[in-house]
């Protein structure tokens, strides 16, 4: 299939709103992997994660009219849909049947004291692994698991303000590293 180039995100969004298949092809080719990664942070079983991905794309298809370009990037909007869909799945009966997934309540960071500090391979950009452990945890919990900073503060036993500052400084650091890598 020929890949259509979209000059701008706005043009892509306009065509998505018209439900043009080409636009959705473009969307899938460019974003499915990232969204799938986000889902796999919570749903580790491939089939189940693919089901969630399908639900996510249907949601995007159905709700694209409510996406407002002035409120942020398209990816960010989709990321939130993917994360919420994955969280919903982990709360469903189906999830309990699948069984092989990481239990959300017993978070890896709470009950593995004294275990190896080697970063768990979450399949994310390698840049993440070069970060200090605390920053890496903050990134995983906030970006990919959708925890609020209050929740992160109680999981990591840190003051609220520190978590907020940490999220910001970690994104700054990542931005710097990704930028250097790209050049």
């Amino acid at each position: 299939m020929t890949k259509t180039a979209f000059n701008s995100e706005e043009e892509l969004v306009r065509q998505l709103k018209l439900r043009e298949e080409q636009a959705f092809q473009h969307l899938y080719e460019n974003y499915s992997k990232s969204l799938f990664t986000v889902i796999c942070q919570l749903v580790t079983q491939q089939d189940a994660a693919e089901d969630v991905l399908q639900q996510v794309f249907i949601k995007i298809w159905k709700n694209i009219h409510s996406y407002d370009v002035t409120k942020g990037r398209l990816f960010t909007w989709m990321l939130n849909i993917a994360r919420n869909q994955a969280i919903d799945f982990t709360r469903s009966k189906e999830f309990n049947k699948v069984g092989k997934t990481v239990p959300l309540g017993d978070d890896v960071y709470i009950d593995r004291e004294g275990s190896s500090t080697k970063p768990r391979d979450v399949g994310l950009n390698k840049v993440l692994e070069t970060l200090p452990e605390e920053s890496r945890k903050v990134v995983e919990l906030s970006f990919f698991r959708g925890y609020t900073h209050q929740e992160i503060a109680s999981i990591l036993q840190l003051p609220l303000g520190t978590v907020k500052t940490k999220i910001r400084s970690t994104i700054q650091e990542l931005r710097k590293r990704i930028f250097i890598k790209d050049n």
Binding site: K17, L18, R19, E21, F24, Q25, Y28, S32, K33, S34, L35, F36, T37, V38, C40, Q46, A49, E50, L53, Q54, F57, I58, W61, K62, H65, S66, T70, K71, G72, R73, F75, T76, L79, N80, R83, G123, L124, N125, K126, V127, L128, V139, S142, F143, F144, G146, Y147, T148, H149, K164, T165, I167, R168, I171, L174, R175, I178
Partner: protein
């Protein structure tokens, strides 16, 4: 304006991550609409997160893709091709109909009616007084003057009313509803803007009266920079303000009487995008 405290607060990151409380998120959206710097920062944060997820080792199977596109085909068949009318609706979901305008008319009607009642009552009193005592010319003169004032008010009032009707009828005038910012009182303030002639009118129905020494100031956001569009003289008026050829938004702040050079952000009461 110093935006560094907004940018470094950590709120923009939480906004992008979707974990900021709704009210704070609304504030961020308003700021993004006014200041391109804020929007840029939000975009950069989003980009970083996007880049982070992009080089991952997780890949959905071809089968998953097939399923998704088959579902799209089904959904498309069920829905039929979207009509252009529908897309228009979708693109402006928040645009309100004329119901808002009706409320404003009613406000003016009451005022005109109240003025007229006053006028009639005054004339009645005057007539009664003339009949009762023709010697009290002084009083009659005073009352005459009052009648004059009241009827002048009524005339002005209906003048303002006519002007508003003309604005509403004129298709070249775009109505922009300025909405209250979080923590500010609910109020009805509209800007009527004619882009062809650059004319800007402001209808202020219900901003709380400005405290002594303070005055409301209208701002036009032009290329991301706030530019003063003049001071408001009162409520229940349609005022002609400084004209603008282009503006992305209009906003009102409470400033010291006579106005300020730059808007005081935490004193912003209402804002609306054009």
């Amino acid at each position: 304006m110093d935006l560094s405290c907004i940018i470094s607060s950590g709120d923009l990151e939480l906004y992008v991550l979707g974990t900021l409380p709704a009210e704070d998120a609304y504030r961020v959206e308003q700021l993004m609409a006014i200041f391109p710097e804020v929007r840029e920062e939000v975009d950069r944060i989003g980009e970083t997160i996007e880049k982070l997820a992009i080089q991952s080792s997780f890949t959905p199977s071809e089968k998953a893709k097939e399923n998704i596109f088959n579902t799209f085909k089904q959904l498309n068949a069920e829905a039929g091709a979207p009509s252009p009318v529908k897309t228009n609706d979708i693109e402006n979901p928040e645009e309100t109909t004329s119901t808002g305008k009706v409320v404003h008319f009613r406000g003016y009607r009451y005022m005109v009616a109240a003025s007229l009642v006053l006028l009639v009552v005054s004339i009645g009193l005057l007539v009664a007084l003339i009949n009762q005592n023709q010697g009290k010319e002084k009083l009659i003169n005073t009352l005459n003057q009052k009648v004059e004032v009241v009827s002048n008010d009524a005339r002005q009032q209906s003048g303002a009313y006519d002007r508003l009707i003309n604005l509403l009828k004129d298709k070249d005038y775009q109505q922009i509803r300025l909405l209250p910012l979080p923590g500010k009182p609910q109020s009805t303030v509209n800007v009527y803007w004619n882009q062809k002639t650059s004319d800007v009118y402001l209808l202020n129905m219900s901003l709380p009266s400005a405290p002594t020494g303070k005055q409301y100031q209208l701002w036009a956001i032009v290329d991301g920079k706030p530019v003063s569009a003049g001071m408001l003289s009162g409520t229940h008026t349609t005022e002609k303000m400084t004209g603008f050829e282009k503006a992305q938004a209009f906003a009102i702040t409470l400033e010291k009487a006579g106005g300020s050079e730059t808007p005081t952000m935490d004193q912003m009461y209402v804002m609306g995008k054009t």
